[in-house]
């Protein structure tokens, strides 16, 4: 059996590991467009900040590849998939044949058209280790940095550069930071906190024009700019999939076995759209744990052990500027029937928000209160009825003691997570 994987990040790695677990003999090859071994992609900001080095950022060590007999081909972009002859053409001139193929090509940055962007030669996106390395090389304590995008990636870039450059300005069209996970109140509180660390925000605003050493915002303000980081968002990288005529909507379309519309070709991670169990719709959930689980599910099915992907929902643990935010599920609901419970302490900058609907927890956001957050996540994931619990979760800090004794024992003694 020949297994071929396009994309050497978390989805690709977890797929390969699962394949090897089920199939000790098959040949596993991973093609990577990048020149580095697989690394923790979210760690590129830690790298830029000097908190991890090129060595520590590596996701799995060399032993992992040796023990699992996984062959990684770096600097090789998959250019074309020929599904009829089951062959993939690499940018290194070689052809790779497969019996089962995984597409795990991840995300590409979304860069909206901006007038004059070609004038700024120091324009970057922030998705790859290579980006972080390039930025690292050119920054000085005199650099004026403009970051477009106040989402997770933009803020992580701002954190990494804080204290290293002359100025950091973050511009976003939305009226608040991290608009997808934060409500206005919490966002404003975090914004004020970050502003004290010398990061300026220009919200409900955008870069209208880029000049050689400045940018002009939509509201007419002109800011000096030596480095421009475009962190508006990401979109599924479907380029390779399209060469095989695979069905693509926003992301690659897959079934619950992570199979694409073309036989023997699977897809996983940021490049696919899959079931979001809270909205019951197919969505692109560009998140690390999701990519891991999808890659693993694909690997299982590719190596003959049938396994369904149970679906997932948005979840994130984000730390920046010493703030810790953990959220999952729906946090900014449109549905008026959702009950929202909020507990906050402005001085300590803590905040707890729980959202319930029809006797179930559907989302939560915890600011600087991370302890035992996973129990809330499990209540959402396992669809637990709140009135079956020992106490009202809005009245007390969560613990395993929330579960009735028999269920708790099942979890603790039989490892039964449900």
């Amino acid at each position: 059996m020949e297994y071929l994987i396009i994309g050497n990040s978390v989805a690709g790695t977890s797929c390969a590991q699962k394949i090897r677990f089920n199939d000790k003999k098959g040949q596993i090859t991973i093609l990577s467009e990048e020149s580095f071994p697989a690394y923790g992609r979210p760690l590129i900001s830690y790298y830029l900040a000097g908190k991890v080095d090129s060595n520590l950022i590596q996701y799995r060590n060399d032993d992992f590849y040796r023990e699992n007999k996984i062959n990684v081909v770096l600097n090789c972009k998959a250019l074309n998939i020929d599904s009829k002859n089951k062959k993939v053409k690499g940018s290194n001139g070689k052809e790779y044949s497969y019996d089962k193929l995984l597409i795990a090509t991840g995300s590409v940055p979304f860069v909206p058209p901006v007038k004059g962007i070609e004038n700024q030669k120091n324009t970057f996106t922030f998705l790859k280790l290579e980006d972080a390395k390039k930025i690292e090389k050119i920054i000085t304590d005199k650099s004026n940095v403009i970051i477009v995008g106040a989402g997770l990636i933009g803020l992580k870039a701002a954190e990494a550069l804080a204290g290293k450059v002359a100025s950091i300005s973050v511009v976003d069209l939305a009226d608040r930071l991290m608009a997808s996970v934060l409500d206005s109140q919490t966002a404003l509180r975090i914004q004020k906190y970050i502003e004290k660390r010398d990061v300026k925000f220009y919200l409900s605003n955008t870069v209208a024009e880029v000049g050689k050493d400045s940018v002009v915002l939509k509201n007419g303000e002109k800011l000096p700019c030596d480095i421009l980081i475009m962190a508006v968002g990401v979109k599924p990288n479907t380029e390779a999939a399209l060469t095989a005529g695979i069905k693509v909507n926003r992301g690659i379309v897959v079934n619950e076995y992570m199979e694409t519309s073309v036989k023997n070709i699977y897809a996983a991670g940021d490049c696919v759209e899959s079931l979001d169990i809270l909205s019951n719709q197919n969505k692109v959930l560009a998140l690390w744990p999701n990519a891991y689980m999808q890659g693993e599910t694909a690997g299982s099915n590719m190596s003959g052990v049938e396994n369904k992907f149970a679906g997932s929902f948005a979840m994130n643990a984000i730390g920046f500027f010493g703030i810790q935010l953990i959220s999952a599920g729906i946090v900014d609901p449109k549905d008026e029937k959702v009950s929202i419970y909020i507990e906050e302490n402005e001085k300590e900058i803590t905040y707890k928000k729980l959202l319930t609907l029809n006797n179930k927890l559907i989302g939560f956001a915890l600011l600087n209160l991370p302890d035992r957050a996973g129990i809330y996540t499990s209540l959402i994931n396992d669809d637990v009825k709140l009135d079956s619990l020992n106490y009202d979760i809005t009245k007390k800090d969560i613990g395993l003691n929330v579960f009735p004794q028999d269920i708790r024992h099942n979890k603790l003694f039989r490892g039964n997570n449900k």
């Binding site: 923790g40 760690l43 520590l56 996701y59 643990a317 996973g374 003694f413």
Partner: protein, 152 residues
């Protein structure tokens, strides 16, 4: 595999397991020095069970899950399951993002209180010494190291 099981009926909620857990993971391995000089977070959560008659307790450590969510969520590769089934955390690699805390259904991963490097603290079954310090030192036999099969 073997892991630590807590027996609610025997647990006094005294917290000795935490003290010995900290000491076992200290540099000095000395109970007093650990307490005074080393800022260590135990890998145990002691929970109180609310019952109408009396308070009871149990001590919780990582369950070393068969299909560990923390390993999947870990963005750095610090969390992994070794060949013996023990879920370990490579301290040097951990960046303290708390993705593992976000997904652990037991709430068994704790934040390390160390101010210098924010990382996490979780049970490693005292791999260095062979017997978990909490089990050895529980005065009332409320913690036992048992084989999974034995328990079922």
């Amino acid at each position: 595999m073997k892991k630590v099981y807590a027996f609610e009926k025997n647990c006094l909620g005294c917290g000795l397991c935490e003290v010995y857990c900290k000491t076992a993971h200290s540099k000095s391995k000395d109970i007093i020095k650990t307490y005074r000089k080393e800022n260590i977070t135990s890998a145990i959560v002691i929970e109180e069970i609310l019952s109408p008659k009396a308070k009871t307790y149990f001590a919780l450590q990582c369950r070393h899950c068969a299909d560990p969510k923390c390993v999947k969520a870990c963005i750095s590769g610090a969390m992994y399951k070794d060949q013996n089934g023990i879920v370990k955390n490579i301290k040097e690699k951990c960046v303290g993002c708390l993705s593992c805390v976000l997904v652990c259904p037991f709430g068994a991963v704790k934040r390390n209180k160390d101010k210098e490097r924010k990382i996490i603290s979780k049970c490693d079954l005292c791999i260095e010494t062979g017997t978990p310090a909490c089990v050895e030192n529980c005065p009332n036999n409320a913690l036992k190291l048992m084989d999974e099969e034995e328990v079922k």
